[in-house]
């Protein structure tokens, strides 16, 4: 009986500790990144079917502004997002090499399907395919960090 109590107590402690948000270690982060790039994030070979032009880029920026800015900021680089570095894993800057290394098809896949267990949600159906492909262009042409200010929701 005593042994069972001890076992349950240890499990409870483990669970509580496991729930706590903490930054992933260097090894964990590198392994997770490699797994995402090479294994779990699909659609590597699909090319962006939308013809690039200034209007499409504007549409992509507008679509990004619908709700991506809540986590990624207006500039895609987390400017003004108060919790970006406090999430586990932290919200990445979309201008970072780790993100830009994804192919266009993979970026579309991530926006469509999200990434578990990070906070990245699936947006398939919430946004149209054309809007998502336009957003991929926006992610490839992000403005200078901080140049667009902070999302309005965090400035009140």
């Amino acid at each position: 009986m005593r042994l069972v109590s001890l076992f349950l107590g240890l499990n409870a402690a483990l669970l509580l500790t496991g729930c706590k948000v903490s930054h992933p270690g260097v090894v964990e982060a590198k392994v997770a990144l490699a797994v995402k790039h090479e294994l779990t994030v699909g659609n590597k070979d699909e090319r962006n079917p939308v013809q690039f032009n200034a209007k499409v880029l504007t549409s992509g920026k507008e679509a990004f502004g619908h709700y991506c800015i809540a986590c990624h900021g207006l500039d895609g680089q987390n400017t003004g997002v108060p919790f970006a570095t406090h999430m586990s894993p932290p919200v990445p800057s979309l201008a970072s090499a780790d993100i830009q290394r994804y192919t266009d098809g993979q970026l579309k896949w991530i926006i469509d399907n999200g990434i578990a267990p990070s906070g990245m949600p699936a947006s398939h159906g919430i946004l149209s395919d054309k809007e998502i492909w336009s957003m991929v262009y926006y992610i490839r042409h992000l403005p200078t960090a901080g140049s667009l200010g902070e999302p309005e929701m965090y400035t009140h």
Binding site: A63, H66, Y67, S123, H124, G125, I126, L127, S128, D129, K130, E131
Partner: protein, 120 residues
């Protein structure tokens, strides 16, 4: 002789004018098609049009801001919350065209579509 010629010319002119006026007034006004926009669908979701026949599409938003955009048709609309707008439109190509809500309206926005069938 000269006055006869003048009378004949005047008569022809009056006749031509009358025909023009009568044919103009006989033209039917463009058909009006009513489309309601409400999260997350257009009702009706499909409409049938004839090539080169002008229509007026009356869009009404029943809730939030909506919009409409087509890749291959010169037809766009911005429909404000609770507003009704008339959009004159004349299709110039036959085919099936799928438009998409262009104003983010919520979680089903991406699947809010309107299909237009244009026949010869």
């Amino acid at each position: 002789m000269r006055s006869n010629h003048f009378a004949a010319t005047l008569g022809i002119a009056i006749l031509a004018g009358a025909i023009t006026i009568s044919s103009y007034s006989a033209q039917d006004p463009p058909r009006k098609i009513t489309v309601e926009a409400k999260r997350y669908q257009f009702t009706p979701s499909e409409i049938d049009l004839k090539k080169n026949v002008p229509v007026v599409i009356e869009f009404t938003s029943k809730d939030v801001d909506h919009g409409l955009v087509f890749d291959d048709l010169a037809l766009t609309a911005k429909i404000g919350k609770g507003k009704t707008i008339d959009v004159p439109f004349t299709p110039t190509e036959a085919g099936t065209f799928v438009g998409q809500c262009s104003s983010f309206c919520g979680e089903g926005h991406g699947s809010m579509k309107l299909t237009i069938h244009v026949t010869e």
